[in-house]
């Protein structure tokens, strides 16, 4: 069993990429939906709603596949104009969720 602390440390070394069959960006519809979107778990065939924060993370990873956790945090903090410590926990939570839902691949 990995403790929460260890998991927190381990995730720093991980890189993230989109599983393409589960995410689609569409400029016109993304704007109409105020940058909320849906993603798809190809293993369970379940569709999940994603808020604007999640959308921004997915977009960052999609633009630069294989991005390290630290870099995702840096970029999202820049995009949102928030400090890294403010977004780090939320990024970790979101990425864990997306990895568990087979939308994002962790390596």
């Amino acid at each position: 069993m990995i403790s929460r602390f260890k998991r927190k440390v381990l995730i720093m070394d991980k890189s993230y990429s989109i599983i393409k069959r589960g995410v689609l960006f569409h400029p016109e519809l993304d704007e109409l939906n105020d940058f909320r979107t849906v993603v798809y778990n190809w293993k369970t065939s379940i569709t999940l709603g994603v808020n604007k924060f999640g959308y921004q993370i997915l977009k960052i990873i999609d633009t630069s596949p294989g991005l390290m956790f630290e870099e995702v945090v840096s970029q999202i903090s820049r995009v949102r104009g928030e400090a890294k410590w403010q977004v780090e926990g939320k990024v970790r939570y979101f990425l864990n969720k997306m990895v568990n839902e087979s939308v994002v691949i962790e390596a």
Partner: protein, 543 residues
């Protein structure tokens, strides 16, 4: 004597007529509207304008004068908000513009082309294609056709670059400089408006049946004085429609049940008989075992393209049944339960908010799971998986699901040319709007069974069984037409383009390893496309 139904709506305006002259009398003469028993053509001409097309209005009436008034005011929204199948071409000679509008229910496809110094508009792809002096083949769209893409999302292109398709509820404008513009007439905001679910399941189902009753009454009114048919299987959707038709025109409609020993998973005639007994319906059993794909070419090893790559030879079952309805029973219009499956997904708001993303997920994941790479070659898989293909799609908002719209958009020639108009009351937007208010308690499990179990007065207990997949029926064309398919695939244009695994398919067919051929629907369309592509000359346009 049945009229000749082979002719399609066709208008061709040469550049001279649209660039300089704009004479209504001359332009009116360039519009060919074949006469039919149903639907009736619309044709109005004045000194300043021409209005022509077809309109079947299911929620009331529109006179020719009212239609002209709508066109003159450019009040297109009034037209497409109606429950109607329509295609209207309006030429304003003073303003020097051509307008083409399609109805929201998709019953009339509309193709257009600006090639060869002409504006050509028709309900028939093959009519326009036959006029072209040169054709450019769009590989991306060829792959989409192979995958029945129009069932996932409306198409605005065909496989031929020179021929475009106008999706349902869309306006096309062509000005004197030949600048074209297409504009969806239903807004995305309209389709995503929140709805309040019914507070009780019983209240919801009763309202759904009451709406269906009113809708079917409207359809029967639109087809007044015509000979009506209704298709009946052992499933819920066609049963509901037949039940309602029978309530209104007891004994005056002809009911048809397609059956085959190979198709019992789909239609169980014992269940049909019990349903008919309950409601006093007499149905004609139509044996369709020999109406499998490509069966009409069974007397030879060569087939000649009739010019339509979607319906040629692939829908012998529908051609056969419709021809029989028309010739033997004089049927002018037939009801079906199509749209009933889609109705049960109307409450899913993500399909309205994210139609392109949902279409992408459905298409890509379904085909990947079914092993599309065993039929398509790597180049086609690359096109299929390319998200840019989806990211550039235009938004065409609609209340009606793409797969329900695809029926009219794709299979129109077989309804039109057999002279049997196809009516799908369960795909009517009024039905969709009620179904969108399905209460949550009905969402789980098999929704259709949950819903219809609340109406034991209509459905019989034997109907509450899942339908199976009739594998032996669907693969019959492989066994019976093996030599024909091998002959076509040995000259494969799609194989040469690197889009299908034609060599592998030939090997499996020759070895009679039929069970190893996956995705029969894709194989079927590949053969249909081959028949088409082997007839015409094309220049390829890469992705």
């Amino acid at each position: 004597m049945r009229p000749d139904n082979s002719q399609h709506f066709f208008a061709q305006f040469p550049s001279k007529a649209l660039k300089n002259e704009w004479m209504a009398e001359k332009l009116a003469g360039m519009v060919k509207l074949p006469k039919r028993s149903f639907p009736n053509p619309i044709f109005i001409r004045s000194e300043r304008d021409v209005c022509a097309g077809y309109a079947v209005i299911y929620d009331g009436t529109i006179t020719e004068g009212e239609l002209l008034f709508i066109c003159r005011r450019r009040a297109w929204k009034e037209l497409i908000n109606r429950s109607a199948d329509l295609v209207v071409v309006y030429v304003d000679c003073r303003e020097r513009k051509v307008y083409v509008v399609t109805g929201q229910m998709g019953g009339f496809p509309c193709f257009y082309s600006l090639a060869d110094d002409c504006v050509t508009i028709s309900t028939s792809f093959s009519r326009i294609n036959a006029c072209l002096s040169a054709r450019h083949l769009l590989l991306e769209n060829v792959v989409e056709v192979l995958l029945w893409h129009s069932g996932s999302y409306p198409c605005d292109q065909t496989i031929v670059e020179e021929v475009k398709q106008l999706p349902p509820a869309t306006l096309l404008t062509i000005d004197s400089g030949w600048k074209t513009q297409t504009q969806p007439l239903i807004s995305w905001e309209e389709t995503v408006e929140p709805v309040v679910p019914f507070s009780s399941a019983l209240g919801f189902v009763d309202e759904l049946v009451a709406t269906a009753t009113g809708v079917v009454a409207g359809y029967l009114k639109a087809a007044k004085n015509l000979k009506i048919g209704s298709q009946l299987s052992s499933g819920f959707d066609s049963s509901l429609v037949c039940y309602l038709v029978n309530r209104f025109i007891d004994g005056k409609a002809v009911y048809f049940t397609e059956h085959s020993p190979l198709l019992v998973q789909d239609t169980n005639t014992e269940i049909v008989a019990k349903f008919c007994q309950r409601h006093g319906i007499m149905t004609q059993l139509v044996e369709i075992s020999d109406l499998y794909q490509f069966s009409s070419a069974k007397n030879g090893l060569k087939v000649e393209s009739r010019g339509d790559y979607v319906t040629d030879y692939g829908f012998e079952r529908h051609w056969g049944l419709n021809t029989r309805m028309s010739n033997d029973y004089g049927i002018d219009a037939v009801f079906s339960g199509e749209g009933g499956d889609e109705l049960m997904g109307s409450h899913l708001s993500e399909w309205k908010k994210f139609p392109i993303q949902m279409g992408y997920f459905l298409e890509v994941n379904t085909y990947m799971n079914y092993g599309v790479d065993k039929v398509l070659a790597p180049k086609a898989i690359r096109i299929f998986n390319n998200r840019k293909r989806w990211a550039k799609k235009r938004v065409y908002p609609s209340f009606i699901s793409p797969s329900a719209l695809a029926i009219g958009q794709q299979y129109f020639p077989l309804y039109w040319e057999t002279g049997v108009w196809h009516m799908m009351p369960l795909a009517d937007p009024r039905m969709v709007k009620v179904a969108a208010r399905m209460p949550k308690e009905l969402w789980k499990g098999t929704r259709k069974q949950n819903v219809w179990s609340l109406r034991p007065d209509i459905f019989i207990p034997e109907q509450f069984v899942p339908k199976g997949y009739a594998q032996s029926w669907w693969e019959r064309f492989l066994r019976e037409r093996k030599d024909l398919l091998v002959g076509i695939l040995k000259k494969s244009v799609l194989g040469e383009m690197g889009l299908i695994r034609s060599g592998e398919l030939v090997r499996l067919l020759e070895a009679e390893r039929f069970e190893e051929i996956s995705l029969l629907a894709v194989v079927q369309l590949a053969i249909q496309l081959e028949i088409f592509l082997q007839k015409y000359k094309f220049t390829m346009v890469e992705e």
